[in-house]
């Protein structure tokens, strides 16, 4: 990249450059820019404050889920070079396992309702994580010994098998240890139990009074409580993202992470140097899959509220891939940035923009087909095409995603932060250990 845009010039400024070197500054800047964009668009189009606020907290929630997933994928692809395109499968197994464990027993009054074992959510979340990791092991054992493409084929096939299994009538409802459990088939499963956040924070009188006083202080008509609840959940989930980040950073900056990188670069060399690469690949794959399962648990409980197989379509996997590619494979900070940019700008941005525009101008008589819009261009009338585009924006954004992906592959293969040096070691290399401080037990 020899052409220097305004961004490059800005970063060339020494003090700005130093600030930008801090990862936390990058994260805050990107999140801040996205929020600011939403606020400006919302204000300009006259959306209500609580409307904008509700949108932002919902957005944060989704970004947090995506960030967990892109971080996990970064361990697989960015560090180890494992081509996992079955992410949804691991999410689904995590979510369904959690529901099996944590849903209350089927009630007698609702004969058709599938139940679970009624264990605490935390037990369910752990079970979901373990189940996804074990599924990772099952997939890895035959596939990891083969070339990378076979792992890709195996994972996507596995994800579809999982989805159809959950959809099938055979597992819709069955008896297990005297309980009526199952997948619920196409109707799926309802998250009909209280998670700890709801129980210990959101359902308290204390929280209700806080919400009431916030609403009163801001002079908001009605209540802001639902949005505040989402805010609390988003903050908790961002904390979970920080936990993921911590785990993966430590994994990466260690001799273990060094072997993973070597496998990514040239597995034969790693083997020639005495590393049992199969074992390293299995560990890396299981860790990533387990945390994908945990992300699935959070997605089901805090975002969906109920799960069914259509929530785990293959395209979701590719969304995560796009997020990782935007941020830059190989960088944990990049994975988080990529998730924020993908969800904020590419995925939810167009829908938000449509709502904003729709609230300013009444768009009527959008043509039914694109031909109607294009034909009007003959009379230099842009309105029909614009109306058509807006009307179908949720489809157009998928096309835009494809275009972005093509552009990235051609021009920015390393994404935002993919090519930077992050030494895989627990200590800095740039000085002799004589000068280095004694290792601390951090």
């Amino acid at each position: 990249m020899t052409d220097r845009g305004p961004m490059d010039r800005l970063l060339a400024n020494p003090s700005v450059g130093r600030l930008w070197d801090q990862d936390i500054v990058k994260v805050l800047a990107v999140f801040g820019a996205i929020y600011l964009g939403y606020v400006v668009i919302g204000m300009a189009s006259g959306l209500t404050v609580q409307g904008i606020f509700a949108t932002l907290v919902q957005l944060t929630l989704l970004i947090a889920i995506y960030a967990m997933l892109s971080l996990s994928l970064n361990l697989h692809w960015g560090y180890t070079g494992l081509f996992n395109i079955g992410i949804v499968g691991f999410m689904a197994v995590g979510a369904y396992t959690m529901l099996l464990v944590s849903k209350p027993a089927a009630s007698v009054s609702q004969a058709a309702l599938v139940g679970g074992f009624g264990l605490p959510f935390i037990v369910g979340a752990i079970a979901g994580t373990v189940a996804a990791a074990l599924l990772g092991l099952v997939v890895a054992l035959p596939a990891l010994r083969l070339k990378a493409d076979y792992l890709a084929i195996t994972t996507i096939a596995m994800a579809e098998i999982i989805r159809f299994t959950f959809l099938s009538a055979s597992f819709q409802e069955f008896q297990l240890f005297g309980r009526t459990v199952g997948t619920g088939g196409g109707r799926g499963l309802l998250v009909n139990f209280e998670d700890p956040i709801t129980r210990y924070i959101l359902d308290t009188e204390w929280f209700a009074s806080v919400a009431e006083s916030v609403s009163a202080a801001m002079g908001i008509e009605g209540t802001i409580q639902p949005a505040l609840e989402t805010l609390v959940i988003s903050v908790v989930l961002l904390g979970v993202v920080a936990g993921f980040y911590w785990v993966f950073s430590r994994t990466g900056s260690s001799p273990f992470g060094r072997v993973l990188k070597a496998i990514r670069e040239d597995e034969t060399v790693a083997r020639a140097l005495g590393k049992n690469t199969d074992l390293f690949k299995i560990k890396s794959f299981m860790l990533g899959c387990g945390l994908m399962g945990l992300a699935g648990v959070f997605y089901a409980v805090f975002f969906l509220g109920s799960v069914n197989p259509t929530a785990f379509m293959p395209r979701f996997t590719f969304y995560i891939w796009i997020a990782l590619i935007i941020g830059g494979a190989g960088s944990n900070t990049g994975s988080v940035l990529g998730a924020a940019l993908f969800v904020g700008v590419l995925f939810q941005g167009p829908l938000y923009l449509k709502n904003a525009i729709a609230s300013v101008t009444e768009i009527t008589d959008a043509p039914d087909t694109i031909a109607g819009g294009v034909a009007a261009l003959g009379q230099l009338d842009l309105a029909p095409l614009f109306a058509y585009t807006l009307d179908n924006i949720s489809n157009f954004r998928i096309i835009a995603l494809g275009l972005v992906l093509v552009w990235l592959m051609k021009r920015r293969q390393d994404g935002l932060l993919g090519h930077r040096k992050e030494h895989a070691a627990s200590i800095p290399f740039d000085r002799r250990s004589g000068d280095a401080e004694e290792g601390t037990d951090r």
Binding site: P255, V259, K421, S426, F429, D441, R442
Partner: protein, 278 residues
């Protein structure tokens, strides 16, 4: 050759002392055979490499040298025959197990880990790093021991880089190194595993004369320290001048074995490989 059949198959004779405790023969290759379809790549090849020696393995293209390397180091499994490293029968072991016993190799075309820095390449190599256990790298409270271990290895790595005079490149991505520097890096990395024996597959190919001399000096210095080397090389002068023992392969077979003078005088070798004017 039949007496070697009784050699123990033990796999836990790990030792950091080099060579001396292996007895006088470091490596024994016994009637190795490898076929690819109708082609016989290695045809009942047998030879030995003495401990602490610099042994050369030569032969025309397609003589089976690289395949022999692959068979010794576990990258290929022989159809027949056996390989002994010291007392251990290592036939059929995985490459990482062979390397774990102290027998490492380099590759004909340098295989640097491109998007890792030179220092990362080196720090990867040491065997038995406790931080290679996932739980130790993540769990709070146990990372201190990993850091101390890494600090000690880092000292060795810096020494190694200085020894090969590429220490100024320590933070460069390996893919940015020149061909010759990659060869140096590859050898330095192999030595970081603390091996007893190193198989060098054309370490001088593409290396300029100055660097070539440097590399050969290094090999001789390391021999003084007790390392054993088996060297595949096409440069006949290098082999004749530097190796005390030379093995000549031709069409998968060992054609001749002996000192430089023996090889020069061998009729078969002259016919097959050297030509009249050597």
């Amino acid at each position: 050759m039949s007496d070697v059949e009784s050699a123990p198959v033990g796999d836990d004779t790990e030792s950091t002392d080099r060579v001396t405790d292996r007895g006088s023969v470091a490596l024994r290759v016994d009637a190795l055979e490898k076929h690819y379809g109708g082609i016989t790549a290695v045809d009942r090849a047998s030879f030995t490499v003495d401990s602490g020696s610099l042994t050369g393995l030569i032969g025309p293209n397609g003589a089976g040298k690289s395949t022999t390397f692959d068979l010794i180091t576990g990258f290929e499994t022989p159809d027949e025959g056996a390989v002994y490293f010291g007392e251990d029968r290592i036939t059929g072991l995985d490459p990482h197990e062979v390397a774990g016993k102290g027998l490492v190799r380099t590759f004909q075309i340098a295989r640097e880990l491109g998007e890792m820095t030179v220092m990362e390449n080196l720090m990867l190599a040491p065997k038995g790093q406790s931080g290679e256990a996932l739980w130790r790298s993540v769990t709070p409270g146990v990372r201190g021991s990993v850091k101390r271990e890494e600090a000690a290895l880092l000292d060795r790595a810096w020494e190694m880089l200085e020894f090969f005079e590429i220490d100024h490149l320590w933070d460069e991505y390996a893919q940015n190194l020149s061909g010759g520097q990659r060869k140096l890096l590859e050898m330095a990395r192999a030595l970081m595993t603390d091996p007893e024996m190193v198989l060098l597959d054309e370490p001088l190919a593409g290396v300029n004369p100055t660097l070539e001399k440097k590399l050969l000096d290094r090999i001789h210095e390391l021999r003084q320290e007790g390392y054993t080397f088996l060297l595949v090389e096409h440069d006949m002068d290098v082999i004749m001048d530097h190796c005390e023992h030379i093995i000549v392969m031709h069409q998968g077979r060992v054609l001749a074995e002996g000192s430089a003078a023996d090889i020069r005088a061998d009729e078969q070798v002259i016919d097959a490989y050297l030509g009249e004017d050597v």
